[in-house]
């Protein structure tokens, strides 16, 4: 059996897996992380062994993401910054600025010469992250997909609170005033785009900007963010797998060393 290079990205919300084999297209998988990342890591292992390869024998595994230490069968543990940087670079094929919107972190990663040279993460606050969107969708009784769909037709209400909990109260107030759901949905997405833009504008933005993470394939969000940045931020169809892909690529590099 050919050697497999496996990247496992255990995020706070979703876990992503990438399987690489020489001469083949990368394969991607996603599953919810659930409440225990150790169990999730176990499920991933079982699945990998059933479908691809015996982990101990013919594979090199790199784990990343906030649950990276839970992958006890990983050969290497590498932070999500390095993995997203590597994966994002490979996906777009040139130096770029990566904006990753994760479940609990928003990251800025600047890739020069194929390597991350600078990064920034949001402070310990959920504003401008996937968690914020998730909380607001729940409050509005919508799935995340529905929230994005409604947001496109709404007229954004300004949600100014910097704290997810306070912003939720702000949304509840607007709901009490009888404001429409689409305007609120538009306000939520607009506020995330604004917070992300404010964060990353403290740093150098290259001409090529790509979005990775859970909402990275959303053209509407990419358009909104581009407007706030005054520069084009490109939606990536497979952007949510950037971390896992980078981890798999780094697994291959490590085994060649």
């Amino acid at each position: 059996m050919a050697r497999k290079y496996i990247g496992i990205d255990i995020g706070s919300t979703a876990s992503k897996v990438c399987v690489l084999e020489e001469g083949c297209e990368p394969v991607f998988e996603v599953l919810p992380t659930g409440w225990n990342s150790k169990i999730t890591a176990g499920i991933i292992k079982e699945d990998l062994e059933k479908r691809y390869v015996k982990i101990e024998n013919d594979s090199q595994v790199v784990a990343t993401g906030y649950g990276r230490i839970s992958v006890d069968y990983a050969d290497h543990v590498i932070t999500e910054i390095s993995c997203h940087g590597r994966g994002g670079y490979e996906m777009i094929g040139r130096d770029c600025t990566i904006i990753d919107i994760g479940g609990q972190d928003t990251k800025y990663i600047n890739v020069v010469g194929g390597r991350p040279v600078d990064f920034l993460m949001n402070d310990k606050c959920a504003a401008g992250t996937g968690k914020f969107i998730e909380v607001m969708a729940n409050r509005l009784g919508l799935t995340i997909e529905e929230l994005f769909e409604l947001a496109e037709i709404g007229d954004p209400i300004s949600i100014s609170s910097l704290c997810t909990v306070f912003a939720e109260s702000e949304v509840i107030n607007y709901m009490g005033e009888g404001r429409s759901r689409e305007d609120l949905a538009a306000g939520v997405i607009d506020s995330v785009a604004l917070k992300v833009a404010t964060l990353v504008q403290r740093k150098e933005l290259q001409d090529t900007i790509i979005i990775t993470g859970g909402f990275s394939n959303n053209e509407f969000f990419a358009g909104l963010l581009s407007k706030k940045l005054g520069k084009t931020a490109t939606a990536m169809t497979l952007g949510r797998y950037a971390g896992a892909y980078g981890a798999a690529l780094l697994a291959r590099e490590k085994s060649k060393k």
Partner: protein, 422 residues
């Protein structure tokens, strides 16, 4: 330790609450210090001082006061110990580096105040630190608005003397700081009943210069290519510098340095293959070892601190050529005004220091850490980053407090930074 309990009771401390603090210390010391491998033997002394941090030195202060001696509590690297020592008194740092004291401080201060200032008030008002009980007078300084206003609150419970630190560095500011030091001299003379003579002051200058020289020696040794001592251990020494007996401390640091010299010659390296990190930013008062512990368990080794518990405390000496008390005081003022704190404007000399120190210590990168809500250091972080990048020095800015709830997030950032350097 039974003697400690009696001493703490006599000092009017809240014993029940203080026991909670004492209960966590051995675990913290084990996790942070004893888990390190290949430590220098001469760390024994500092380990001992730390293990009985609220017993050993306080007992000496109690004895000293029994015989009529006065103790002055200080909070800042700008306050010159020389003048206090010259009056036959003892200067002791009042540390405030633990989350344990923060809730107590929040009873008096807004939540968005820096943890150091909150801990200061908590330690005093909760009656859980013997040093805060043992200082007869506290010497404050106008280094930031938070401290300035917090001292007013401390002043309701303990005699306070505030030194008005200039915040620019023009010639008249140096003269002004000398004036403030003269006021401090008058205060310590009044409190102790002892005159600060030229002879006594000259002696005190020599004593404190020797302490600074010992620390300078330590910092030069630690940054050797073969790192002979961890940053965590060195930080502990810098923290102890604030409250130990100066002559004994100097002797112990020099003894350690003798051992380190031998280690360097033998090629002993406590951090082979680790990335060399310079930490700049706000003070790390005892028992705040959070950042050093994170860096040194994430593939890095701290080779220098450009902080008040680092180079700002000991760089530059007081010129010993002064003949009169006035000349000596001006020389003292000149040395302390050479410290580059973010409370000054402009403060580009601090960025010069960081760049110089990064080069001298062959740092792979700079991590600038500021305590949450420390506005001046926070704002200055941006220009420091620009300067470091212009010099080609990788830079990571972090903000944190005394709690552990951001440990994982910090580990990711520090881990990513170290991967980036690799």
């Amino acid at each position: 330790m039974a003697d400690n309990q009696k001493m703490w009771a006599d000092l009017g401390m809240n014993l029940e609450m203080h026991d909670m603090l004492c209960a966590v210390l051995p675990g913290a010391i084990g996790d942070v210090f004893m888990s390190q491998e290949n430590r220098p033997e001469a760390m024994d002394y500092f380990d001992m001082v730390l293990a009985d941090v609220h017993g050993l030195r306080p007992a000496e202060l109690v004895e000293f006061r029994k015989n009529g001696g006065k103790v002055f509590g200080t909070f800042c690297a700008y306050v010159p110990d020389e003048v206090i020592v010259a009056a036959g008194a003892i200067a002791t740092g009042l540390c405030a580096g633990s989350q344990f004291w923060v809730p107590g401080g929040e009873r008096y201060l807004p939540a968005n105040t820096c943890p150091l200032i909150k801990a200061m008030l908590g330690a005093r008002f909760d009656k859980t630190c013997p040093f805060y009980r043992l200082a007869d007078v506290y010497i404050g300084e106008n280094t930031c608005d938070g401290k300035k206003k917090a001292y007013e609150i401390l002043g309701t419970d303990v005699p306070m003397h505030i030194m008005d630190l200039p915040q620019m560095k023009r010639e008249k500011d140096y003269l002004k700081w000398a004036d403030e030091i003269k006021d401090l001299k008058a205060l310590v003379e009044k409190e102790t009943g002892n005159e600060v003579t030229a002879e006594k002051l000259a002696e005190a200058i020599k004593l404190i210069n020797a302490k600074r020289a010992a620390l300078e020696r330590l910092y030069k040794l630690r940054r050797n290519e073969n790192v002979p001592i961890s940053g965590t251990d060195t930080l502990l020494i810098s923290q102890i510098a604030y409250y130990d007996d100066p002559a004994r401390f100097t002797a112990m640091v020099n003894k350690l340095c003798d051992e380190l010299e031998k280690r360097v010659a033998d090629g002993v390296n406590v951090a082979p293959g680790k990335k060399r990190i310079l930490i700049s930013g706000t003070p790390m008062a005892i028992p705040n070892w959070k950042l050093h512990n994170l860096v040194e368990t994430s593939g890095g080794v701290v080779v220098c601190e450009e902080t008040c518990t680092g180079t700002r405390y000991f760089e530059n000496q007081v010129d010993e050529s002064g003949a009169t008390v006035d000349e000596m005081i001006q020389n003292i003022a000149n040395r302390y005004m050479s410290i580059n704190c973010a409370c000054f404007t402009p403060n580009t000399a601090r960025a010069d220091d960081v760049v110089r120190l990064a080069k001298e210590s062959k740092a792979d990168g700079v991590i600038d850490v500021n305590l949450m809500f420390c506005q001046t250091y926070d704002i200055e972080g941006r220009s420091l980053e620009e300067r470091c990048k212009a010099e080609g020095i990788p830079f990571l800015g972090l903000e944190t407090d005394y709690t552990d709830n951001d440990a994982q997030q910090l580990k990711t950032r520090i881990g990513a930074f170290i991967e980036m350097l690799g």
